[in-house]
Amino acid sequence: MIVFEQERCTYCHLCTLYCSYTFSKGGVVEARPSVARIRVAQNEDDTIYAAHVCFQCPVQEPGLPREAASCLKACPVENCITRNPLTNIVAINEETCIGCGKCVRACEYQAVFLADGKAVKCEVCDDPLCVKACAPKALSFAETDEAYIENIAQLYKEVRL
């Protein structure tokens, strides 16, 4: 997963920009924050920053069946948002997505976005550019644990886009 450490972030948006490089369309690479799957918010005092990126709503306790993420539950289209049982990563099928935005509104962590009429979210690249780009090293590519999920969920609820 993409792991975010609030204390290190400097609100520079390099993650957003590099992510948009990755997801440019039509054979032309663009710097285009509005298609990025990671977006940076600040609190009103400008003292806390939050890079909103999907943490894949993992199971809370080992051994229990996987809990459906809100985006997954909200999607009205069959086989559009699905979870890979091996990797646990929740992905959106661009072909079948109708762009209704229900998943975007359902995600309490603001980690699903509409870009050019389709829902998009972090589906964890093999070699994520956002992590490479993050100058203050606030982003890393790592396993998440319960304590992390609890903290990041709280942060995303408090520092809104």
Binding site: E7, T10, Y11, C12, H13, L14, L17, Y18, S20, Y21, T22, S24, G27, V28, V29, E30, A31, R32, P33, S34, V35, R39, V40, A41, Q42, E44, D45, D46, T47, K132, A133, A135, P136, R160, L161
Partner: protein, 613 residues
């Protein structure tokens, strides 16, 4: 990721907006690419448009003046510290062409809305703001925001215009200082990051234009994206350099120590170059007292900004960005004020009221000297105005911003005050703009640079600190004029190129081979194969065009001037003791290198060589 197929325009967005504030008419036009090929964007393209279209004899605060906001082709592309926007106009402080730039996140929103430039002309009948949401552009009533601080305006406008997309919506606005036509008022991006210099905020205020609010969803096409990814490597390289390590730790306040050590931090209106209480206002002191966390402009890996807050035991209150090194000089050493809380407070007042901390400080230091000379009395000012008096300084900064009492006079700038009270020599600036924080007697190349800058005592049209103090790529004696004319020419021309790209100049100042690195980035973004000679020539062309703008207004050698304190009064003890700036000798050599006449006017041959009509 695969390389782009060069389809369509790369770097530039391809559209400019023209907004006539008198009639309310808004027009879209294609970006003039013929001009952009010669002058790039930002400072270059903006100056070219101003040069071609403005009646340059106009009063800077009249409706005839133009106010142009621009980004450059590399803005937001990752071309290393690329989050800048630039404002071009005729300056009410200097009467010259000027360019003032700022970072933050507004430039990204403005450019992704799809525009390379917005050209404002005329004057609105009532306060207005320009609302931009991609293709939807409209002038709206700003009466409710007039009088608000920059921070209040930023918050209120975002809530009003795009309540659901606050974080994507960005502002650039003036505060009360711009509304009150303070001659050194600036324009604030994101409420805190100022295009501070040359009085661009007063021009905006004179047009009854309170703000631009922008949100954009478009992309900037990049011809060779793989090349751009090297910017990450360059940023890492900078941050592992000796200077880069401390820069990352302390941001610009590190220069309190660096320049203090070589007697080059202007102190007490430039009488000295070393402030004995420097350690009380240094980067370390800031960490101990006010710094909350590090921050960066959008698309910059260097993160030199600092969020700060005055601690609860302080007699002052507030929070915001900075102070930067320039402000630690202008409100600190320059006034002999060692109270970091007071300096931070004045910095907040300037940011929130929307005015330049440098010229505010230089105006205050001139006033303190006039007061000491007995040329202006406590009765006239309203209170005593002694060196070291932090409370008096804070009070005067507020009076200037609000145009109250003596603040009305002080708001016309240090040159005006010094002339009015019969001692023009106490104004420490050139062409009417106060010097930034580099003492020319201890780094004489910077003196030549200040004297020949198109907009006076500014550090952003070039800065010799890289060679003279930091020794990049190799050391150079800062105390003599030897080699300085060539250094200054090179630095001014290369800086003009970097700024025209829409980039911050900091990475250039760290790199040994800045022109080479940024030529490669430029080529990668726009898909060209310009040589170093060609990109250097672009910078030289821009600098000469600025020179011609001023020359047409009658500026000559006599205006490439430094106060006698720098050319005649010897530097006090320490590094460079007894030194003065050998200005006239350097000017002779400099004009010759530039291909200008002995009176400082570009020759017909030079203009023709550069393709300036």
């Amino acid at each position: 990721m695969s390389p782009s197929s060069h389809s369509g325009l790369c770097g530039w967005m391809g559209t400019i907006l023209r907004v006539n504030l008198t009639t309310g008419e808004i027009k879209r036009e294609p970006t003039p690419l013929d001009k952009a090929r010669m002058y790039i964007g930002a400072r270059g393209l903006g100056t070219k448009i101003l040069y071609d279209e403005l009646d340059i004899t106009c009063d800077p605060l009249s409706p005839e003046n133009m106010l142009i906001f621009l980004t450059g082709p590399l803005t937001l592309t990752l071309g290393l510290s690329s989050g800048r926007s630039t404002v071009i106009t005729k300056s009410p402080l200097t009467g010259t062409v000027c360019s003032s730039n700022a970072g933050g996140s507004f430039p990204a929103a403005f450019k992704t809305a799809g525009y390379d430039a917005i050209i404002f002309t005329g004057c609105a009948e009532k306060p207005v703001y320009l609302s931009i949401n991609d293709d939807n552009v409209a002038l709206k009533d700003a009466s409710a925001y007039w009088g608000m601080t920059t921070v209040e305006t930023d918050h209120a406008l975002k809530q009003t215009v795009n309540p659901k997309q606050c974080s994507e919506t960005k502002t650039s606005c003036i505060g009360p200082a711009g509304e009150n036509l303070v001659r050194f008022a600036g324009i604030a991006n994101d409420g805190h990051r100022l295009a501070a210099r040359s009085g661009v905020g007063a021009v905006m205020g004179s047009k009854n234009l309170k703000a631009i609010v922008a949100r954009g969803t478009k992309g900037i096409k990049i011809a060779e994206p793989e090349e751009l990814l090297r910017s990450n490597v360059m940023a890492d390289h900078i941050k592992t350099m000796e200077l880069g390590v401390v820069f990352e730790e302390f941001g610009t306040p590190l220069f309190v120590d660096v320049l203090g050590a070589v007697n080059a931090m202007p102190t007490q209106n430039f009488r000295a170059g070393f402030f004995e209480d420097g350690d009380l206002i240094s980067g370390g002191a800031m960490y101990d007292r006010v710094i909350v966390r590090k921050k960066g402009c959008v698309a910059c890996a260097l993160n030199c900004a600092r969020n700060t807050r005055l601690p609860s035991d302080s007699k002052f209150k507030g929070r915001g960005d900075g102070p930067e090194y320039e402000t630690l000089y202008s409100f600190g050493s320059n006034l002999l004020i060692n109270d970091l809380d007071a300096i931070t407070k004045m910095n907040y007042i300037c940011n929130e009221m929307g005015m330049d901390t440098i010229d505010a400080g230089v105006t205050l230091s001139a006033l303190m000297e006039l007061y000491e000379m007995g040329l202006v009395s406590a009765e006239e000012i309203g209170f005593p105005f002694e060196w070291r008096d932090a409370e008096a300084a804070v009070r005067m900064v507020e009076m200037i911003a609000h145009a109250e009492g003596f603040g009305v006079e002080a708001g016309k700038g240090g040159r005006y005050l010094a002339q009015k009270y019969g001692a023009p020599q106490v104004f420490m600036g050139s062409k009417g703009q106060g010097f930034s924080a580099y003492h020319p007697r201890a780094m004489v190349g910077q003196g030549l640079l200040f004297a020949t800058s198109p907009e006076g005592g500014n550090h952003t049209t070039g800065n010799t600190i890289q060679r003279e103090i930091n020794g990049i790529p190799s050391p150079m004696n800062p105390l003599t004029g030897e080699g300085k004319p060539a250094l200054v020419k090179k630095n001014q021309d290369e800086t003009a190129f970097i700024e025209a790209l829409g980039l911050c100049v900091f990475p250039y100042m760290f790199l040994e081979n800045g022109l080479e690195v940024f030529t490669e980035f430029y080529n990668a973004v726009v898909g060209e194969k310009y040589s170093l000679a060609e990109t250097y020539r672009m910078g030289e062309r821009i600098f000469n065009l600025e020179r011609m703008f001023n020359a047409r207004l009658g500026f000559t050698r006599k205006d490439d001037y430094l106060p006698p304190r720098l050319t005649d009064e010897p530097h006090p003890e320490g590094v460079g003791e007894g030194n003065v700036v050998p200005l006239q000798a350097m000017l002779d050599e400099y004009y010759e290198l530039r291909g200008w006449s002995a009176d400082g006017i570009p020759t017909a041959e030079k203009l023709s060589e550069l393709g300036i009509a």
